[in-house]
């Protein structure tokens, strides 16, 4: 453990993800950008349990000097270029083709929010959710109802969508406190089904089969403006997610995922933090649902079916459970694949399902593990491949 004292600055991240280590309170602004762009995410098996941390830290990489000043400039520069590229992209999308691309961008960003939401529950807290469409749908219908029936402002609707998502998730959380693993999966499945067939079909609230109208908010009526709105919300939620993971809350939730009993014996409030994970996931889903509603401008119950819930799960599993960058890539992939390759949209779910099965049986870490060397490089490491990590298999934790 003494080697830690001499580590390069960015190694600090691995330390703070360790539940036993003290929190690092200071925030380096450069690091914020680096991490939001996906510098070091919490990868499965890294920095969570102490033994795998040990394997990682004694590697030769730690004793090597970090990159030179030019190396850091190259790394930070690339990140800055990517971030600026995404921010500037909508300005260059013009004409009819540009409108399509702006729509895709908004959908991709909304799916990232969905991915973050389910990642909080499945990746961080280790609670399976096969009924996530319920939270998203509740947010979407709440937002649509408030804007089109109550004629309140979008911002009120947006906030209340988050609140309603949180309430619906917390309700499920109370049941989840008493159930684990397979039975939890079953109850979430039933919850999602009830939401789709009963809750979302109450005509007075949701317009029944015809759906509810959700006009674009004032000031964000064009596709470009709406894409920026989605971008702002996604960035804010990425920041919240990142800060949560790095805080006491994040460490407590990870500890519960690893082993509830030992977490409880360290004085972690299992009930409270589990409910918190559900609530945070619900807030994200509700906010994402609100944006989804106003992006589509018409919300229908049939959009929130079991296949949608499965897509949400498989995009985070394929992306890499618990990895923010993995979730980002996985979500974008599944959101845009059917749109970009319009002709073969039929094959999307099939390819997704096969990717899922491959991820589960062969490449446990998903996309995040495949691109791990690149992520390490951005964090100041080398591109060299490392020996495979210890894959945890025990317990009911979802992360493969």
């Amino acid at each position: 453990m003494t080697e830690r004292a001499g580590r390069r600055p960015s190694s600090r991240k691995a330390v703070s993800a360790d539940p036993g280590a003290p929190a690092t309170g200071d925030v380096d602004p450069v690091d914020v950008v680096a991490e939001l762009a996906g510098d070091v995410a919490i990868e499965p098996g890294e920095g969570i349990s102490s033994e795998s941390e040990g394997f990682d830290q004694i590697s030769a990489e730690d004793t090597e000097p970090g990159p030179s000043a030019a190396g850091w400039i190259a790394r930070r520069g690339l990140i800055a270029i990517m971030v600026l590229g995404v921010i500037a992209a909508p300005l260059f999308y013009r004409g009819d083709a540009g409108q399509t691309k702006l729509t895709w961008m908004a959908i991709g960003l909304i799916y990232i929010i969905f991915g973050l939401s389910i990642n909080v529950l499945v990746g961080y807290a280790g609670q399976i959710s096969l009924g996530h469409q319920a939270f998203v749908g509740v947010g979407a219908f709440t937002s649509a109802y408030i804007v089109s029936v109550s004629h309140a402002s979008f911002w009120v609707a947006f906030v209340l969508a988050g609140v309603s998502g949180a309430i619906s998730a917390a309700l499920l959380g109370f049941i989840a406190l008493r159930l684990r693993g397979l039975f939890l999966a079953l109850i979430t499945l039933a919850y999602g089904t009830v939401a789709q067939f009963t809750l979302f079909n109450i005509s007075s609230l949701t317009g029944g089969g015809a759906g509810a109208r959700a006009p674009r908010p004032a000031g964000f009526t064009s596709n470009r403006q709406f894409a920026y709105l989605c971008m702002a919300v996604t960035a804010a939620l990425l920041y919240v997610d990142w800060r949560m993971v790095r805080s006491k809350v994040g460490r407590a939730i990870f500890a519960i995922r690893e082993n509830e009993l030992s977490a409880a014996s360290f004085g972690i409030n299992i009930t409270g933090y589990k409910l918190l994970a559900f609530t945070v996931s619900g807030v994200f889903a509700g906010l994402g649902g609100s944006l989804f509603a106003h992006q589509q401008q018409l919300v229908q119950a049939s959009s929130f079916d079991f296949t949608f819930a499965l897509t949400l799960v498989l995009m985070v599993v394929v992306g890499g459970l618990g990895s923010r960058v993995g979730v980002l890539i996985g979500s974008t992939f599944f959101a845009l694949f059917p749109l970009v390759f319009n002709a073969i949209s039929l094959y999307t779910a099939l390819i997704g399902a096969i990717a899922l099965l491959l991820t589960l049986t062969r490449f446990h870490g998903g996309i995040a593990e495949q691109i791990a060397p690149i992520l390490r490089w951005f964090g100041g490491g080398t591109l060299r491949k490392h020996p495979r990590r210890v894959v945890r298999t025990g317990g009911e934790s979802v992360s493969p």
């Binding site: 009963t198 099939l350 399902a353 099965l357």
Partner: protein, 288 residues
């Protein structure tokens, strides 16, 4: 009222059959098989393809479809389930859900998203049972599935193979020691579960229209609830649970006001929550 009870009983044995498949896999692999109902859809589509498109005899199409689905179950066990033997159970559960999704998509790609009619096994007008008119297909489904249930009861209590399956699920190590290959048992369990699902799909689909994922959307949740209600590790319990769910749904459809959309599903959810919170081991299950 009487009609809903009879229909509930017929639906009940279907739920019972699917739940038996779920319990079987649960006993073998300690996992909930989300692909169980989809085996049925695949079999129904195979039967449709052979009978309607290639003009093969009806019964031959059915038998071949069930055999092919059995092979599918065998292959999936080899390719996916076996690789995940030591993985967390929830990982395997997500994998079975992935299998279901892949099967649904394959059906859509091959057969299209539209519903197609599958003719009933027995043509003819409805017959009266206890003063309620049921179609011959419904009667056949009921008799065939009850017969299958009795046969399974015999299989699991009187034959060597059946006892070996049960032994594997209870004590894998001890079973290995007395010379029963647990891996082969796992193959057998998945094949049998797929065959049961396939039979269910063909019997339900016949006489109505079939569309991709119809078994999953209509029966999977009910079958899971039936398995949990009966006791997730109890084979007789699965049939009892199936009948409970069938009656709950159909009587619920009768008693609940029509203004509540998706009423039967709501009832199933209520039953599921109730049983999981009050009696998690189910009606006939052993206490863990």
């Amino acid at each position: 009222m009487k009609q809903f009870i009879v229909l509930g009983l017929i639906d009940g044995v279907v739920y019972g059959l699917l739940a038996t498949g779920l319990v079987l896999v649960y006993k073998g692999a300690r996992v909930f098989n989300f692909a169980q109902a989809e085996f049925g859809t695949v079999a129904a589509f195979l039967a449709y393809w052979m009978f309607e498109k290639n003009h093969m005899p009806y019964w031959l199409s059915d038998v071949l479809a069930v055999i092919i689905v059995g092979l599918l179950g065998f292959l999936l066990e080899r390719l996916i389930v076996r690789k995940l033997f030591n993985a967390p159970r929830v990982t395997m559960l997500v994998a079975t859900a992935g299998i279901a999704l892949a099967l649904i998509q394959l059906e859509i790609i091959i057969a299209g998203a539209n519903a197609v009619p599958l003719p009933p096994a027995i043509q003819g007008v409805g017959v009266s049972v206890l003063g309620v008119i049921v179609t011959p297909q419904q009667l056949l489904t009921f008799v065939a599935l009850v017969g299958l249930g009795v046969a399974m009861g015999y299989f699991f209590s009187r034959t060597d193979l059946g006892l070996a399956v049960l032994a594997t699920s209870q004590e894998p190590v001890a079973t290995e020691l007395v010379g029963i290959g647990t891996r082969r048992m796992s193959s057998f369990i998945w094949t049998m579960a797929a065959v049961l699902g396939g039979i269910g799909g063909i019997l339900i689909g016949a006489g109505g229209s079939i569309f991709p994922s119809f078994m999953t959307t209509s029966y999977l949740l009910g079958a899971f609830t039936a398995a949990v209600v009966g006791g997730i590790d109890s084979l007789p319990g699965a049939f009892v649970g199936g009948v409970v769910i069938g009656l709950t749904r159909d009587l619920g459809g009768y008693f609940l006001p029509k203004t509540i959309p998706g009423g039967p599903n709501l009832l199933v959810f209520a039953v599921l929550v109730l049983i999981l919170l009050v009696r998690p081991q189910g009606l006939l299950g052993a206490k863990a």
